[in-house]
């Protein structure tokens, strides 16, 4: 017993024993390739190369993006990476273990399935897929090929969760304890510290323009329907078009909602109803919305408050029959403030440990904390909202069959045919 040090040692030092002192055996070092190096794929968090995982290849359909990213890699890691124009060349590159998908969402499903079929593990940016059907196919392909998949948002296991002011862990403990009662209502709103970026809207009346020579627009579109080129449809602003993403909801939705799904314990199901309050949407260019309300079969609700419809400043982030949690983790139980809440929470068992080291998961073949299954479910929340917005009506959903109830038009949005011979086996 190292008496004095026992508590200090609680902060566990990460294990770093690969290949002995300072030497990394090549077989122990994983490799990755990034598809899409325009925006997020080039951000410092992802554009990394280190002892545990080396960046070996990049792919982009815009030769300017590709060349400048290759130059950046040369400058930062001192290496000449393999550059690819066609993502299939990257996926089939035998030197790559992990395919990192950082393209616009309309590509995520196709690339994840193909990477799995090619035997690669997958790191995929949010939102996971553009449709509910594509998500189902990704789940199947990952299972069939026994791959490790990470959907990349992380608040269910680390970092201060926006308006909460803490990580999600103490909240998970509080919710699990039942102290707040049940069912719970969660309000994701500017008023609770979760801003929706309504900047992501599309433009109507786009006048076609010539495709710039460095861009392979046909490949950029890939499975998306052909529409004449306009720069606003692509790089940095693609989020504003239904063909590629879901606007502000697509942008931040899964980021904000995945942790909610986690602490409500809804990883294996989906809401049964989505209600919207929004202006009519344009069929191509995404607009704003005011409020989206999701209801689960046990009465739990998630309310998204959007443009101009944020509640007054003091609304609870979570509200249950017996208690409320406000922004900054201020808690009220049975109508009274509970300033000692953290000590109360400390008495409750920690949540089940989660596998949060992706590289370790790949090596040990353990499922990552946010994987294809729970990631698909939290993406369903986003895609249910998208369907309701596009049809301008409330929808009911069957979480088991993952189809809308008595709504043929809504169900036609679940499996949207793709352009070209992209099929999700």
């Amino acid at each position: 017993m190292k008496t004095a040090g026992a508590i200090a040692l609680f902060s566990i030092v990460p294990r770093k024993v690969l290949g002995g002192q300072g030497y990394i055996a090549p077989s122990d070092q994983l490799t990755k390739g990034i598809i899409g190096v325009g925006g997020i794929g080039r951000s410092s968090f992802h554009f990394s190369s280190d002892d545990s995982c080396r960046l070996v290849a990049l792919c982009d359909v815009d030769s300017e993006h590709l060349n400048s990213a290759l130059a950046l890699a040369k400058q930062r890691f001192g290496e000449d990476l393999q550059g690819y124009h066609n993502y299939r060349d990257l996926i089939s590159d035998p030197n790559i273990d992990i395919v990192h998908i950082a393209t616009p969402p309309h590509w995520h499903g196709v690339m994840a399935v193909e990477a799995a079929n090619a035997g690669k593990d997958v790191w995929c940016e949010k939102p996971m897929t553009r449709t509910i059907g594509e998500g189902k196919r990704v789940v199947e392909a990952i299972k069939r090929n026994n791959r490790i998949f990470r959907l990349n948002t992380w608040f269910r296991f680390k970092d201060t969760f926006y308006g909460l002011g803490t990580t999600v862990e103490p909240l998970k403990k509080l919710v699990d304890s039942g102290v707040l009662g049940w069912p719970l209502t969660v309000r994701v709103s500017g008023a609770t510290g979760f801003a929706w970026k309504f900047f992501w809207t599309g433009k109507e009346n786009l006048v076609p323009q010539a495709v710039p020579s460095q861009l392979d627009y046909d490949m950029w579109l890939g499975p998306a329907p052909y529409k004449p080129y306009h720069p606003h449809r692509t790089h940095a602003t693609f989020r504003g078009y239904w063909d590629y993403d879901g606007g502000g909801l697509g942008d931040m939705g899964q980021h904000y909602l995945d942790p909610v799904q986690y602490f409500l314990g809804k990883d294996e199901t989906s809401p049964i109803k989505v209600e919207i309050d929004a202006p009519q949407q344009h069929p191509d260019a995404i607009g704003i919305w005011r409020k989206i309300t999701y209801t689960y079969d046990d009465g739990c609700r998630i309310i998204l408050e959007g443009e101009g419809y944020e509640s007054g400043s003091k609304v609870p982030y979570i509200e249950g029959p017996n208690g409320k949690v406000f922004q900054g983790f201020e808690v009220e139980l049975n109508g009274k403030p509970a300033p000692d809440i953290m000590s109360m929470i400390a008495q409750m068992p920690d949540p089940e440990p989660q596998n949060t080291d992706f590289i370790k998961c790949v090596k040990n073949r353990e499922r990552f904390a946010l994987n294809e299954q729970n990631g698909h479910r939290s993406c369903n929340i986003v895609n249910m909202g998208v369907a309701a917005l596009r049809l301008n009506r409330d929808l009911e959903f069957d979480p088991v069959s993952q189809t809308f109830i008595n709504d043929d038009a809504a169900n036609r949005l679940i499996d949207q045919p793709m352009r070209g011979d992209y099929r999700l086996l």
């Binding site: 508590i7 079929n117 009346n205 009519q280 300033p339 045919p417």
Partner: protein, 937 residues
């Protein structure tokens, strides 16, 4: 709903012949024109009603609208697109079969007559959202069109009940086979299998790929040999044709079908041996396990000796579909055998833990002492996940081992209550390790029952250190006396921990009892400074006062100051502000940071926080706190914050945070803050980020701001032309237009809350007291304006004959503006309804519709007040008569029994004053505001 005639020249001829307001009486042309003029609808009810009208026009409306589509470079299609897409979406849920047929018919006609490819594709997409089998010919005939074929194929795939038709196309094979194969796959056309298998005999690679994928989705066991051969040719690699993936996919799909189980098992077993690629081997195994069920247990057990971890883990996971206890038992047995390699045991234990196989917890427990650290860790984690008595005692027993830390960690997330076991371990006075670990966990888990043990061990030779550290975690309010005594007597080195414990114990009391419990000890102590931290915890007014006076004394100043910064209470906002204003500014950095934290927590709303941050910024004095405040101001999103950031961006020390503030405020409020000032702020921020050439993220900011500026300019261009102007009669009478749709020049007061947007005065995040006033004063007048209540429950008011910045209802008059039918106003008094002279004369109730414009006239001549809304007089009264001349009550009277609201209205008989809008919140617009001064006439 107001209905407009469409201004598009195209439609003028259509719109000329009808004015009726009812859909049943309007001609279809008028309905189309009306709907188009209102596109897009912002409210669902309006949308539904308009679409219902449009639906009533049958196919006519669709063809009319579609006929207006022009090539994208020759005009703007957006409103037509909104209308058609809206109609299709509405029809898909609300139309009966007959109406739906009309909509579809219209779309088909429109597709036939459309000439522009992009528009044709758009219409085809719309049809495919609601298509029926009768529409399939439209899609079939476009399948070979170079532009439209993909839209056509999608449409055909989405159209229900077209299997026979599709089969016919496939059999004829006059269309490209790649397209037909996609059709077969997407529709899961099993009957197409023989035809497609035939195609493979002389297919090129592209066709073959398409067919393989189709077979994966629509094939039967008959396709297995073909795919097996094709995959073998490619050596089970992924490319070039996808044959391997198609093969594995088909195997897995058929595996769930009992009739195919045998064929699948045979192929999958062979594939597992032949393929090298791990995902193919495991994919075959997954199919095999599904097809054979637990019969495949020997394969699973054999897989456990495979050298590849991927293979082992895939085997374990694939076996989960069996739900077989026998399999779990057999696998778990391997984890207990000595000769099983540690890596294999690790996989098994991880798997048992992930699935919480409680019956096999002993396999995990058997490996807690494994020499291999990774295996041992897997065992501890699995034991923790599974829980149960057995696991609990095994974990606690490991307190006395070299795996003590693993054991403690496992207990923290243990699946079940650990308290009794911890208390039992604490009672074990023979093992120091046991008690040390138990105390540690007790502290983390706040097990109060452990407090007596912890207190008794404070002087223990070996456990003293841990006992002290654990103290704050285990104490309860009944330990407060003991803790205070300890505090007085302990050496300085221990005081910090004891103070923490005292704070922890106090916190468990209700807030109002904390100070009373602590004060006896504090007051009688010779060393009161020992209690400052605990005092701060209570947050009580007495505690604040005590600390403030201690702060002023040189000997205790520093300690008291630190404690003051710990107090968590809304009162501290002013206390800290005053400290910051004081003579000693040396600690202002810390003071203002705490001030910000308190404003963050206790500010009532964005306006309140804005006011606090702004005065904080004025008191700041250092770049660091300046930047802190500017950042915080940005988070309020107010116009004032924008103005401050604009003013500070020129200073290099605050430029970065000011630019970020402008970016964040304008990204959220670009549609709202529209003046030249706001535009220039955007430009300044853009210039700032452009200058940051070495910052890779600055490029994103520049793009972002560029988009904001584009939106800003687009909004400005599309903003409705101000509709505010005087009528010729008003002009002749001498009315003064107080608001012309653009300028607030004739107004004063809170022009950051009342802003100009789309030709209206719009109220931002107002709360009570955010008012604007006419620059001039008026005595007798006619005040006319239009207003729209845009949100349920809106509350505002017109102050008349009022001084500025007072409560006009009492120090002048307030003519109420209120959405009085909102349920939250169910209990209001008659003298509070819209149009009332508030508290003095009730008005007749008016019905309002949200989002519609209402006209109002307020006429004040001497004591005579008239209010007219939407042409109807709702109040006509004399303010002097209403209270028998008593604006205030009798001498000595509390209140005023003459007045209907029993209150004093000292300003009721003011001769003149400002006219103002009195804000209570957002959701109202004003326009066409004008006044006639009757005194100057």
């Amino acid at each position: 709903m107001k209905r407009f005639f469409i201004s598009l020249g195209l439609l003028l001829t259509l719109a000329g012949n009808a004015v009726a307001q009812d859909a049943r009486q309007r001609t279809p042309q008028t309905i189309v024109a009306d709907v188009l003029a209102e596109m897009p609808y912002t409210q669902k009810a309006d949308f539904d009603s308009a679409m219902s009208d449009l639906l009533s026009t049958g196919s006519f409306g669709v063809t009319q609208l579609a006929g207006m589509l022009v090539p994208a470079d020759q005009g703007q299609n957006n409103r037509v697109e909104y209308a058609l897409d809206g109609l299709v979406a509405y029809s898909s849920a609300n139309a009966d079969e007959e109406q739906l047929a009309e909509t579809r018919q219209g779309l088909k006609k429109a597709i036939a007559s459309a000439t522009d490819n992009a528009n044709k594709a758009f219409l085809m997409k719309l049809l495919s959202n609601i298509s029926r089998p009768e529409d399939a010919d439209v899609f079939v005939s476009a399948l070979t069109d170079p532009y439209l074929s993909e839209y056509a194929l999608s449409g055909l795939i989405l159209t229900p009940d077209t299997d026979e038709l599709s089969l016919g196309l496939i059999s004829q094979a006059t269309l490209p086979k790649t397209i037909l194969a996609r059709l077969a796959g997407a529709k899961h056309l099993v009957a197409a299998e023989p035809v497609m298998l035939g195609w493979l005999r002389d297919a090129d690679a592209e066709t073959a790929t398409s067919v393989y994928k189709a077979l994966a989705l629509a094939g039967t066991a008959k396709s297995l040999p073909v795919l097996a051969k094709a995959a073998a040719v490619e050596k089970y690699e992924w490319l070039p044709t996808d044959a391997t993936a198609s093969y594995v996919s088909l195997l897995n799909r058929l595996a769930t079908n009992p009739a195919d189980a045998k064929a699948v098992a045979k192929d999958a077993g062979a594939l597992m041996k032949k393929a090298k690629n791990i995902n193919v081997r495991t994919g075959a195994m997954t199919a095999l396990f599904e097809a054979e069920g637990a019969k495949a247990l020997p394969v699973l057990l054999k897989a456990m000796s495979d050298p590849d971890r991927q293979f082992r883990m895939a085997a374990l996971r694939s076996s989960e579909c069996w739900n077989s206890d026998d399999a779990v038992v057999a696998v778990a047995a391997l984890a207990k055998k000595d000769k099983t390699p540690d890596v294999v045991k690790t996989d098994i234990i991880n798997w048992i833990g992930a699935n919480k196989y409680a019956s096999q917890v002993d396999a995990a427990l058997a490996n807690l002492d494994a020499a291999d650290d990774e295996l041992a860790q897997a065992a501890f984690t699995a034991a923790s996940r599974i829980g149960g008595e057995e696991a609990l005692s095994a974990l606690v027993a490991h307190f006395d081992s070299k795996r003590d830390i693993k054991a403690m960690k496992a207990l923290l997330s243990f699946n079940g209550d650990v308290k009794d076991a911890i208390m039992e371990a604490l009672a074990d006075d023979k093992s120091t390790n046991m008690r040390g670990c138990a105390l540690t966990v007790a502290c983390q888990r706040r097990i109060k029952e452990a407090a007596p043990v912890a207190l008794s061990l404070l002087n223990d030779e070996k456990l003293s250190e841990i006992a002290y550290i654990a103290l704050p975690g285990v104490v309860a309010p009944d330990n407060i006396g003991t803790l205070c005594q300890l505090l007085e007597t302990s050496p300085a080195s221990r005081r910090g921990t004891i103070q923490q414990a005292l704070v922890a114990a106090l916190r468990q009391l209700p807030a109002e009892e904390q100070y009373a419990t602590l004060s006896p000890y504090f007051e009688k102590s010779a060393k009161p400074e020992l209690y400052y931290g605990a005092l701060a915890t209570t947050g009580a007014p007495e505690a604040v006062d005590a600390l403030l006076s201690a702060y002023k004394a040189p000997s205790t100043g520093k300690a008291a100051f630190e404690a003051l910064l710990e107090i968590d209470s809304p009162r501290m906002i002013d206390v800290l502000y005053n400290i910051a204003l004081g003579n000693d500014k040396s600690n202002n950095g810390a003071v203002l940071k705490r001030y910000v934290a308190m404003v963050d927590r206790y500010g009532k709303d964005n306006i309140d926080r804005y006011n606090h941050y702004r005065r904080g910024l004025e008191a700041s004095g250092t770049d660091e706190t300046d930047n802190l405040f500017i950042g915080k101001l940005a988070s309020t999103g107010t116009y004032g914050a924008l103005a401050i950031a604009d003013a500070r961006i020129a200073n290099p020390a605050t430029a970065a945070v000011s630019a970020a503030a402008i970016r964040s405020i304008m990204s959220k409020h670009v549609g709202e803050y529209r003046g030249e000032q706001a535009r220039s702020s955007i430009v300044k921020a853009t210039d700032y980020f452009k200058s940051r050439t070495n910052d890779p993220d600055a490029g994103y900011a520049v793009d972002d701001l560029k988009g904001i500026l584009e939106r800003f300019d687009a909004d400005a261009a599309t903003a409705a032309t101000p509709s505010s102007k005087l009528t010729p009669e008003e002009e002749a009478m001498g009315f003064d237009l107080l608001f012309d749709g653009t300028s607030m020049a004739k107004w004063t007061g809170d022009t950051t809350t009342y802003i100009v947007r789309d030709g209206c005065i719009t109220v931002g995040e107002a709360r009570w007291g955010n008012n604007i006033y006419t620059a001039d004063e008026y005595g007798d007048f006619i005040f006319r304006f239009e207003f729209s209540l845009d949100r349920p429950g809106v509350n505002n008011g017109v102050g008349i004959r009022t001084p500025m910045n007072v409560d006009a209802a009492f120090h002048g008059m307030e003519i109420q503006i209120l959405d009085h039918d909102d349920p939250m106003y169910a209990d209001i008094q008659p003298y509070q309804v819209h149009g009332s002279v508030y508290g003095v004369i009730p008005a007749e109730r008016v019905k309002f519709k949200h989002g519609e414009w209402n006209t109002e006239e307020i006429r004040a001549e001497g004591d005579h007040i008239t209010v007219t809304v939407n042409g109807k007089v709702i109040l006509d009264g004399n303010i002097r008569d209403a209270c028998q001349g008593h604006a205030v009550g009798d001498p000595g009277e509390e209140g005023n029994h003459y007045m209907i609201d029993h209150r004093n209205h000292p300003g009721l008989f003011n001769k003149r004053g400002h006219i103002g809008f009195l804000g209570h919140g957002a959701g109202i617009r004003f326009r066409n505001v004008r006044v006639l001064d009757l005194n100057s006439k």
